[in-house]
């Protein structure tokens, strides 16, 4: 789980072109949207694509986005659960 969270931080920085950030700047439980990192609705869509491309996990309902993408940890938990379910 720790490794997954570290990987996610790297991938998010790259996918969203957050050039001024390093993985250590993103807290595991820091809010990603609105406050915290201040990401927006387009970033949410990009994260949906990231989940699919990197982890083969689909999020069909963008309305679930705010819950799944609340923090790095909630993203990691979502991926882990989804992969267990499809295993």
């Amino acid at each position: 789980m720790e490794q997954l969270m570290e990987d996610l931080k790297r991938q998010i920085i790259e996918a969203l072109n957050l050039k001024h950030l390093k993985p250590e700047d993103i807290g595991n439980d820091q809010p990603l949207f609105v406050e915290g990192l201040g990401l927006d609705s387009i970033d949410a869509l990009e994260l949906i694509v990231l989940l699919q491309q990197q982890y083969g996990v689909k999020l069909d309902n963008p309305q679930e986005g705010p819950t799944v993408f609340r923090s790095i940890r909630t993203m990691a938990e979502f991926i882990t659960t989804a992969k267990k379910a499809s295993a």
């Binding site: 927006d40 609705s41 387009i42 869509l45 949906i48 694509v49 963008p62």
Partner: protein, 401 residues
Amino acid sequence: MTAGPIHIVGTGVISAIGNTLADNLQSLQQGRSGIGRITLFDTVHRETLPVGEVKLTNNILAFRTKSKKTLSRTTLLGLHAAQEAIDQSGLRDRLSTLRVGLISATTVGGMDRTENFFPAFLQDILKGRLRDVVDHACGRSTERIADATGIRGFVTTINTACSSSVNAIQLGARLIAAGQLDVVVAGGTDALTRFTLNGFNSLMILDPAPCRPFDAGRKGLNLGEGAGFVVLAPASLCAAERLTPLATVSGFANTNDAFHQTASSPEGRGSFAAMEKALAMANLTAADIGYINLHGTGTLNNDLSEGTAVKRLFGEALPPISSTKAYTGHTLGASGGVEAVFSVLALREQCVFPNLRFETPMPELGLVPQRTFERRPLRHVMSNSFGFGGNCSSIIFSKPV
């Protein structure tokens, strides 16, 4: 700057619900939507994304417009509608003697052919047929239409996403009012492409079922294609040439929402400002508007935002409102032109069109659009077009006095 009011003296339209004005009107009256399965090209989304296709192949379009079938579909659709508008105006033989402008609008341009060029080109940069990309640029479809209709002189193209063709009509009216042109053929055209289908899909704003504008259960938009053109002329020329004014362009406005690249502000400030300014220019109040042809794409964001703005502006004086995108799909750059023609039809026929597939009002607003085709006395009709990039345009057409 007084040539008198600016009139619409010709209209032409082609869409998923008809190839001509008459066909479109009949479909509108009969509640017959043109949304269905994709047939124009191969795509993984064929079974999952409904669209509003024009029911003519490129070959037939080329035949009907007396042009080449290798042209971009955007050009063919545009030419079809522009020719209909010019024919209706009665000005076909005068295009070379008057100061005529062509102001078209498109968002996809020749992308329908460009996307066929790229697969081969990506394998080998010397492959791919050049004739598939020669008309890629938006302005090229306009040039082809200018060449085919014999319009020289002032030729231009607008691309402000979904508000493009209303802006074309606005510019046309302004140039005539300023005495710089005698006649303007204005409107827009867009063909369905894999590019836009996948683009909107990546934004997750497409409805996997036929769209339901302004409905509480709406899920998104359906893409469409088509073209809509009007011929504009000042009252003084109408008198001199004995042209029949179909409607008067009495007010319009162009504003920017400046909120987000693809989403409208929750309160619809850009839309509100556009509608308000259009009324001011027309010297009308909200109560004067007999029907609003909404932008009404069916997305969660647009409909709530537009609905909020409409409710705030019109309040108790809310007229019948409907989105005809439930019939045609969202024709992108052509939507302003197509819906301008529908608005003129509403004025000519003294009727309002239904908002198909509506069942439940949005809980936040409680707005109930027009549910049936209905004959009503109408003096002024408003048409809205709000696009990506916050480009908001609104226009008011009036029964000629």
